[in-house]
């Protein structure tokens, strides 16, 4: 046994220089999260079934909405494209807001959370970022799947490379803004251990007022609801996303500039999110509830 131990000692003699970027660690967090996902094969299969069924529902709902009605509200007369883009974007919204809190719930109940907090590199931020990228990756798979099923059923979106780049830019900007809210929600979870109701309420408000399944102009007659809706960042992100891929509007369109300016107002949310999260994390460290669920 002595020889065996001497052999083991050798791997501790040299003191390695520990270097690694924030991005490397975030990508490690993403990579192993994808590995965990891959171990849930039934879950993946059910998600793809979910995508197909969701789009099918709106395909049939589309028969109830006449093209003229949609045109009169200022959109291209294709309800399926309208709905497909709405539900794809709402998936990104849901992930941005709830992903971190749900993941923390999982980490805490699995007992891995304290080990992550004890990591010596950057106060946990690279791990958080990796999880955000994971959420984006998973939602993008959902988006591609939804779009593919939608196109197969006859939905029409623009096929212009630059407009698609613009759409992706809008998408990323919208996600970044909402991830700030998601990070706050995750911090609140660590402290208050309250999850489902809070997330459900948040996403319900965003989806209802954001106009995922109906044009916002329908709210013109309900002025209070309309004003609430334009105060939400999601409304502007979704509107720009749809206008780009359905109507081919560029960012220089006056209404697009208005929406972009409004969305950018919320950009500091990501910074505030990290600050609030850190505050909640320290409160939990103070109260000794990091490992409690």
């Amino acid at each position: 046994m002595t020889d065996e131990i001497a052999e083991v000692m050798k791997v501790f003699y040299d003191r390695e220089v520990r270097k690694g970027s924030f991005l490397t660690r975030a990508l490690a967090s993403l990579y192993y999260q994808l590995k965990i996902l891959a171990s849930y094969k039934m879950h993946i299969a059910l998600e793809f079934l979910d995508i197909t069924l969701s789009v099918l529902i709106y395909y049939f709902v589309g028969f109830l909405v006449s093209p003229q009605a949609l045109s009169s509200l200022g959109y291209s007369p294709d309800y399926l494209a309208f709905a497909v883009l709405g539900i794809s974007m709402s998936r990104y919204l849901w992930t941005s807001i709830s992903r971190l809190a749900r993941k923390l719930h999982h980490e805490i109940s699995e007992g891995t959370f304290e080990s992550l907090v004890a990591i010596d590199t950057d106060n946990f931020k690279s791990w958080l970022t990796g999880q955000v990228i994971y959420g984006f990756t998973w939602s993008s798979m959902w988006f591609v799947g939804t779009l593919a099923v939608g196109l197969f059923l006859g939905a029409k979106v623009v096929c212009d490379f630059l407009l698609w780049v613009q759409a992706i830019f809008i998408l990323i900007l919208t996600i970044v803004v909402h991830v700030g809210i998601g990070i706050v929600a995750a911090g609140m979870y660590i402290k208050h251990k309250q999850l489902e109701t809070m997330l459900f309420f948040l996403s319900l408000v965003m989806e209802f007022f954001g106009g995922v399944l109906y044009p916002l102009s329908l709210l013109y007659n309900y002025r209070i609801l309309y004003y609430i809706s334009i105060l939400l960042p999601f409304t502007h992100g979704l509107e720009m996303f749809r206008r780009t891929l359905m109507d081919g509007w560029s960012l220089l369109h006056p209404r697009m500039i208005f929406h972009m300016a409004f969305l950018l107002l919320f950009l500091p949310l990501i910074y505030i999110g990290f600050k609030v999260f850190e505050r909640y994390l320290n409160m939990a460290r103070k109260e000794g509830i990091l490992g409690a669920y």
Partner: protein, 338 residues
Amino acid sequence: MTEYAIVSENLTKVFQTGKKKVVAVDHVSLKIKRGEFFGLLGPNGAGKTTFTKMLVTLLIPDEGEAWVDGYSILKEPLEVRKHVGWMMGETGGRALYWRLSGYDNLMFFAKLHNVPKDVAERRIRVLLRFLELEDDAHKLVMNYSTGMRVKLMLIRALIHNPDILILDEPTLGLDVETARKVRAFLRRLVDDLGKTILFTSHNMYEVEMLCDRIAIINHGRIIFVGTPREIREKVEETKIVEIRLLENSSILDEVVNKLEALSVVDHVLSKEVSERSITIRVSVTDHAVAIPEIVDALRGYNIESIQRALPTLEEAFLKLAGVETNILNSKPIRGKLR
């Protein structure tokens, strides 16, 4: 570089449960030298885990301060974490990703710690082989036994080659042979590489064998700090007689009954049976009076020795921690302490 690896000054943690305040750690001041194997002992709920969690910066103290490798746990938590490897205890391996393989768990944490890939791979391979996990390295942790998970958590604590290790019951759940291996390995980390180990355990044999010094904590307070021998000497006023008989186990109950019937015997502390002999330890009020009476009572048995003895570490611990020693009657000590 300071002489001490860990210093705590009046470290205090109070938990609030409803209107009730519980002082989990009460003004604990400790100094642990570099290259020291230090044991922290205490009954369940004594404050051991709370104390160690403050040292690894998972808990913020309500009062006091501590320095780990010279870094303040309050002002420099990231620096503290760089120099500490922590293995949490009593989790049954919960603190691992069950849907990743053992190897992936280790690589993931190596990456989060910025350990270069080639160094991490080599370290993981060697440690997995040493702890006989090599063949199961690529199985999902959900299929591991408790002992395998404990081994994995120990490797994880070592993955970034920290100078200071804080280990919460690192041999709990391991089989006898592996526990022996782990103990020898940990001792060598201290002796050969100068690492500092702060270690909690309920296994007194292990504590006495490994630790240079120990502290006993109870109700959040340190009630003793010293070497294992010092602790036993401290409670020397506990008068103990050790009786060794060259008899087989069949007469054990009969002998114990005779000893308990003697007025000079306070308690039977432990009973140990080996192939050829039995050893009984009793606490007495006065050695000089008790030994002749015991000899008299056991006339007719094959007596090898009857002598005064120092308390074992376990007996000393129980006495210092304020636990009644006669509890031992219902829980015989297995194995001999020294």
